[in-house]
Amino acid sequence: MSKYQAGTYTGEAPKVWPAKVNQIPKEIFGDAALFEEELKKIFYGDTWHVVGHTAEVPNIGDFKTFDLGRVPLLIARGKDNQVRVFFNSCTHRGNQLETSVSGNRKEFECPYHRWLFSLDGALAACPGSKEFAPDFKQENFGLVELKTDQYLGLILVTMGKNTPPLKEWLGDIVPLTLSALLGGDGRLKLLGYQKVRYVSNWKGYNDNDGYHGGLLHTAFRMLNFQGGSGSQPMSVNGHWVIEAELKPAQNSGFLNDPSLIDFKVADPKRGSLVVQLYPMTVMVKHMDVINLRFAIARSHDVTEVHYAYFAHEDDSEELVQHRIRQSSNLLGPCGMVSMEDAAVFQRIHIGNHTPGVAEFQKGVVSLSELSLDMKQSDETGNLPRWEHYRKVMGFKREGEQ
């Protein structure tokens, strides 16, 4: 029987969600007005957002610019070696301060009226200040810093007033995998970026980038990557952690040059580590590839992702070369084994402009309660994040008071 009842489709997100925990209303992917609500409640709300890693700005004066929703950020390493995150906006008239994506500066100068900011954000000079308003005090006009915290070099910010401390927000389970993913101590070296623009809602990207059953990726099967065991320990606050064994492909006959998929230092028992931090950051260690995906929700139908790849500071040159080759060929929007993801993000976004619900099946054991017992290839790992999203956004379920 069809799930669709004629006459109910508006394209707008419904106020009330289905009672079944495995059903997601498809309209939430294509609703521009809902995106404005998400900016307020999620991106500018009481949650932490990953905006970079300190290895992207390794030297004093290094900076990168990034966006949190529509808010421009400036991430800079000061003379005291501290990495700070500022709003990328001059404190005078609000002009965008730094226009480059990255670089190295001695200070940041706004070209509009030549206000000059030091690397720690202090207003160092502002020509003509004798004629400024009577209440002007130079020390009050430093760059505005966001509330920032770090985990093994991972830089997180929040604009919310009631965001819990980072340690509490991450919970107990995330750090067990995230620390291994970040090389144990976070002493990483940036190898470079692959940047991509997806015509997809950020939730559609997020729902499919972290992990899905291996059926999509033919190459995984051809390389015999699916034979291992794994776990999906649940976490708090909509985060998701996956650890899976990857059996090294031996003489599968698929590759003419199998050196590409050697394990040099990665332990095949923990061959695939995925940490997905709510709302939209996916981090992966797959074989010897260390890949942090810094994502930006541009609009209800555009998501930009900066795939940043890393080596560890202690790596030998041979290992660095191996990581470069593996990182440049396997994952991401050009990767031989998972470029399907990119195609699927777009198709999901197109397909979700239809009535009804997206329905999770594999591993669902109850329609009224979320299962916390997940096997490696269950798709139910997405559901706790959806439940967290639903609550943050204030959607009620059918029958809920």
């Binding site: 997806y198 003419n256 195609a343």
Partner: protein, 189 residues
């Protein structure tokens, strides 16, 4: 210098050649005049892009030398920051073949057509073994719905050698200006 920094700062031979833009109007290479060499190089490039545009990708590895070769698509952003990560990076003929097998048999992606436009073919240096050649490219992408967009703009930095009477790439470095990929990159450029 730590091994990591060394690895990061190493540059390929084509980069070094690119810095020396010599006025190379008159030379002889393998008994060919400068004009004939230029003509042969342009023929090679035209055949190379026709192979991709006509979806004859099984023959694409044949444009490279058999023993050692290097094919790389890397963003200008990464190059200018001294970072080695690429979008595609093949260091053997086997890896070139693997790319094509993968896109034919394993990968799922929407059908689209590529159309390469090449210009400004400039032989930068000549020695007994090889030619260093720079050229500009644009790839137009046409989707199933008939819409055509500029998918990628950039330059080729090629090391071309004579192998059994035929010109082949021993190294092809595609430096991409368009560093934000539109959805995905499947086929070589």
């Amino acid at each position: 210098m730590s091994p990591v920094s060394e690895a990061l700062s190493s540059t390929s031979t084509t980069d070094k050649a690119a810095k020396a833009l010599l006025p190379l109007d008159d030379f002889t290479w393998n008994s060919w005049s400068a004009m004939e060499t230029q003509w042969r190089v342009e023929r090679l490039l035209s055949r190379y892009v026709a192979c991709i545009d006509e979806d004859d990708l099984e023959n694409w590895p044949e444009f490279f030398t058999l023993d050692t070769c290097r094919y790389e698509i890397i963003t200008r952003e990464n190059v200018e920051r001294g970072m080695p990560l690429a979008l595609m990076f093949c260091t053997s003929r086997g890896m070139l073949v693997d790319r094509i097998v993968s896109l034919r048999e394993a990968n799922i992606y929407p059908q689209r057509w590529y159309r390469h436009i090449i210009s400004n073919v400039l032989i930068q240096s000549v020695d007994a073994e090889c030619l260093q050649v720079q050229s500009n490219y644009v790839v137009l992408q046409t989707r199933r719905n008939g819409q055509t967009d500029i998918f990628s703009a950039g330059k080729y930095l090629d090391r071309i050698v004579l192998s059994k009477g035929e010109l082949k790439f021993s190294e092809k470095r595609v430096v991409v200006d368009t560093h934000r990929v539109d959805t995905l990159l499947v086929a070589p450029i």
